[in-house]
Subunit: 425 residues, 2 copies
Amino acid sequence: MLVVQKYGGSSVATPERVRAVAARVVRAVRRGDELVVVVSAMGDTTDDLVALAAEVVGDADAAVRHSREMDMLLTAGERISMALLAMAIREAGEGAVSLTGSQAAIITDGAHMSARIKEIRGDRVRAALEQGNVVIVAGFQGVSAAREITTLGRGGSDTTAVALAAALGADRCEVYSDVRGVYTADPRKVPEARIIPQVSFEELLELASAGAQVMHARAVEIAAKYDVDLRLGSAFDTGDDTIGTFVTRKPQRMEELVLTGVAAKSGQAKLVLNGLPAGLRTVTAVLVGLAEAGISVDMISESAGSEGRIELQLTLDDELVQEAGDLVSAMLPGMGGGGIVVRRGLSKIALIGSGMHRRAGVYARAYRSLLEKEIEVYAVSTSGITITVLVEEARQDDAVQALHEAFTLELIGEDPATGAAAGER
Amino acid sequence: MLVVQKYGGSSVATPERVRAVAARVVRAVRRGDELVVVVSAMGDTTDDLVALAAEVVGDADAAVRHSREMDMLLTAGERISMALLAMAIREAGEGAVSLTGSQAAIITDGAHMSARIKEIRGDRVRAALEQGNVVIVAGFQGVSAAREITTLGRGGSDTTAVALAAALGADRCEVYSDVRGVYTADPRKVPEARIIPQVSFEELLELASAGAQVMHARAVEIAAKYDVDLRLGSAFDTGDDTIGTFVTRKPQRMEELVLTGVAAKSGQAKLVLNGLPAGLRTVTAVLVGLAEAGISVDMISESAGSEGRIELQLTLDDELVQEAGDLVSAMLPGMGGGGIVVRRGLSKIALIGSGMHRRAGVYARAYRSLLEKEIEVYAVSTSGITITVLVEEARQDDAVQALHEAFTLELIGEDPATGAAAGER
């Protein structure tokens, strides 16, 4: 079986951790697997390099003014971790070679600090595998057609791993971090939270964009597009390699579940424009004005007010709401009047599950559970597999807890300690 | 004028130092020069990376067992310094791009940790220069025909700079370190020591191999072969850029000098084999035996003893003399007998100057100056431009001082403080 494994920065933060990862890799090799390993920079290396650049240029905007050189600088990080990991695997008695993004022919566009992968030519990786090596590939980095060094931006190493798995036709991509899998809710907040044993790409995407600490949405999109089976688990688990969350197009489940998880994201705000003149023109003008100022809007809802006027409600990041409010206020007179109400300090709670809409009363149950805890809902939005509500930040944890309880999410996860499904106990 | 400048690790050890080097580079650009800048890794970066590898593999032999991965690891060092320097130059308002050894097409053989440069294709460097950039090239590193990352071993960054200057047809290669030039003797030992304003390649080579803290002999050889004019100076001098030592094929001097410098190297030993059967066969057997054991011999002299027997005297590194002595002792019976005397704790003092042999009495003056200080000479050897003597380590500084005085070396240097030739005062 050809497996791509990815280890994040905390997994290789120290020489001891590098050796521990090497031991995991060697175990997989001795089980008979062919291994390609994607690594991030060790621990805080990237942050340290960014700080060094800030010292040299005198402020924190080195990446803005010198993105090409920033890429050159940051790519030093994976070079260090991958060379050390190759040494550790060789010390343990297996063949290993490390390859830079350039050597592994990870071809990107030329957008420094946020490049997109255009193509991966797997020849060199395959040749090194055929020679009996574990092939270690630098995460996060690539090379443009003009032979410029690039980095992939946020979620870069996950993206490298999944894209490599797709290009090589790997049987699976295993993404290891310091988290044991995808939880039904944040286990620091909800003690009953369980690891979700199987999840679909779509559910994982919703969880990722809703703020759950899982793989980066960008990497999940590639996995979904190229049908790369994923396994998300902890690099710190040394035992059973079947623990973790498996992500596939069609998860094998005992029954179609209502919800797979609850995720939360604080720092949200709401902007209500009331008494606007009705019509598509008004709404369009507001949205275009915000977009041109680079302000992303999250949820949108529109409702009829009195006297042919409408109310437009937008949610967005709290740190953008001041600018957005000022911008829209200035537009109101030209559009024919209207008022503004800003509500800050909100959290977004998402309930995710592909089976949600086959069950009756899901909305009702969600609202009832919040009502029982006297948690006010400031906005709501739904998709095929999610319900998203906005609540006060101070009630975020209560809301997650209430929803998790209401849908008895503990029934769908596994007990991390025993590996047994919680419902079997 | 096209100039290649090289800055060593101490010259770019901190963000402040990187900015100071950028200021120097920018000054040269604004004088109208085209600049290619070769940098080493910052300060102790290379040592830190070596220590990290030692931690991962559990001993200090990572470079021996994992030379390919060691090259991958160490090349991260220049990546960091060159990216930061490019940022600093850009901040100061001039164009700059950094290029890895691979991007600058520094093609080497495949010998990891000690690669030799085979070819430099200057196209990409030239193109970047033509676009108005300062081109910063990673020192010490290259790429093999098989696209493997290599490093050049000791003196690597100096070698990169000189080889680049040769390949680009640069007008000059300026090598900056924390030393202000080549001194007539070690200024910490000989207060009268002066910077040598001009020196030939051959003299610099002799000084380098005799232990003077100057450029690596390997880089000097390339400069001599391709006739690359050098300037050696300090990156910490901010003032007059004409200070330093200029190295050319034919130095312009007021008069042909007797000596240009005195250099010393401790840790030497002498091995005397007496009562050996005469004949080339005996000497050859000893030298072949040592060479096959990987023991390098420095000076050799042979003299007739009594009764058709000869005495063979060898000098070598003190740390090798025990092994050499044991080896030769074991050979003696088979060669027809003979004895061994070992003398350890010696220093080698070299007097260097291309004009030496045109002046009468140089040997006499050298010996007399040592005799006056009662410094015993344990061995002597000469070449066209050098006299080398072995003295006790305890007398090393006295010997350097005595020889420096005897040849009034202070007359040929410049006073670093005023830049005026010392003889003019």
